[in-house]
């Protein structure tokens, strides 16, 4: 089993690599199209700001490569947002794998933005969540969210319900940090590896 992590300026590459190590996998951290096309699974991590991340991806041609990948791809956190069509974060056009808009959580009294901490996922419908129960807790850190859409495989409530995981063809993405969500998060990564 060869697993690659897309190498760009994402902040959580190391954490994802350690999560894979704990499953006995030594990932290849790479921006080489040959490597990314040939491995069995690709993980597209992400922490940071959307327009800066897109700039890095374009510089290396990864903005064209990622949507063309054929094997299972898992986006994490900002990775999910970048796989959508457009983000309100600095009005950024993204990879458009999912025709979904990414919006900013509204400012409201007594509601903190970013959402930081453990929240639940429900309406689970994907082999990605095999072995998980409804309302499993995941670790989230984000100010922007994917609005509810037909590709949803998990929903989370913060201010209102939003889509916290999506799936289309060979592309999967989760808004939460599966790599930092304890044993349950580790189970999701293992499920992805076994797809």
């Amino acid at each position: 089993m060869r697993v690659a992590i897309v190498k760009y300026n994402a902040g959580n590459i190391r954490s994802v690599a350690y999560a894979l190590n704990r499953l006995g996998i030594e990932p290849e951290i790479s921006d080489d199209p040959e490597v990314l096309r040939s491995v069995d699974k690709v993980i597209f991590p992400g922490v940071g700001e959307a327009s800066t991340a897109m700039r890095y991806l374009k510089k290396d041609g990864l903005d064209k490569l990622i949507p063309s990948l054929q094997q299972p791809v898992l986006g994490i956190c900002l990775g999910l947002q970048l796989m959508c069509a457009h983000s309100e974060e600095n009005n950024t056009d993204c990879l458009n794998i999912f025709p979904v808009q990414v919006k900013k959580f509204p400012s409201q009294d007594q509601i903190k933005v970013p959402q930081i901490g453990w929240n639940t996922i429900h309406e689970l419908k994907s082999p990605l969540f095999k072995g998980l129960s409804e309302n499993a807790f995941m670790y989230f850190v984000h100010s922007y969210y994917a609005e509810q859409n037909p590709y949803a495989i998990a929903t989370t409530d913060y201010i209102f319900p939003y889509t916290s995981a999506i799936h289309k063809d060979n592309f999967y993405a989760v808004q939460f940090h599966a790599e930092k969500s304890g044993e349950v998060g580790s189970q999701i990564i293992e499920n992805f590896i076994r797809l």
Partner: protein, 252 residues
């Protein structure tokens, strides 16, 4: 629903946990990684490792600790202690830290918060504020709470948010070590003025104190050290009790 977080804090010196630790089921009670892993299994929501080593090789020991924690623990953790530059933060994040905490260095050079937030994103920048009340005025203290500054706590909290901090770790020196409860009034007045989450610290002595800091204090997270290390309160018991009191916590 987003839950309130319980965060054990581990003080580390020369790679070992320093505050007395009272766990007979650990092979090495001084090993911060093993203790952190135990807290994680018990349901801690995050961990904070505070390196209080004062040596020239500081960054090396800090980064080594980060690497060990990141390799072995699958919940988020913050590393703090003497971090004062983009290079320090970069080294910690590259080794696998999720967040870094800065304190005295931010007071000395507030623009550091801006540059760190720009470089790495607000989500990984925690600004720790040590506060003590001096004749009715809450003042920011540095160097482990020993040195008073002329900076008032609430305006400073607002400033660090504006400069790009992602969270504030607020430690009341008046309450720290007293086991008489958190500084709920101050925590609440900061939490209500700010959009970013507040981690309250200092004063935890019993389980009701945690309920109070989440309700009266409007804290988003509560941090404690010795009550966990000495098993005066165990995390699973605390979390179930909080849930029974109507505080939303992660229990699975």
């Amino acid at each position: 629903m987003l839950t309130k977080r319980i965060i054990p804090c581990l003080d580390v010196k020369d790679g070992k946990t320093v505050k007395g630790v009272n766990f007979e089921n650990l092979r090495d009670a001084g090993d911060p990684v093993e203790l952190g892993a135990l807290y994680s299994q018990q349901g801690a929501d995050e961990l904070v490792f505070l390196d209080i080593t004062a040596t020239l090789e500081k960054r090396g020991t800090l980064v080594e600790l980060v690497r060990k924690v990141a390799a072995n623990i699958n919940i988020p953790f913050t590393i703090g202690g003497g971090i004062s530059s983009i290079e320090d933060v970069s080294a910690c994040l590259n080794a696998g830290a999720d967040k870094v905490s800065i304190n005295s260095s931010a007071v000395k050079n507030p623009a550091l918060i801006d540059s760190l937030a720009r470089e790495f994103g607000s989500q990984c920048i925690v600004v720790a504020i040590d506060t003590r009340n001096n004749q009715g005025i809450d003042l920011v203290h540095t160097h482990g709470g020993t040195k008073a500054t002329a900076i008032q706590t609430i305006p400073w909290a607002i400033e660090v948010q504006e400069r790009g901090a992602g969270e504030i770790l607020l430690t009341s020196m008046d309450h720290d070590g007293t086991k008489a409860g958190f500084a709920n009034v101050l925590t609440s007045s900061i939490s209500h003025r700010l959009q970013i989450p507040i981690i309250a610290s200092g004063g935890a002595g019993n389980m009701q104190h945690f309920v109070d800091v989440f309700t009266q204090g409007a804290a988003d997270a509560a941090l404690a050290a010795s009550i966990f290390h000495f098993k005066e309160i165990e995390i699973p018991t605390l979390k179930h009790w909080l849930a029974d009191q109507g505080v939303s916590v992660r229990t699975n």
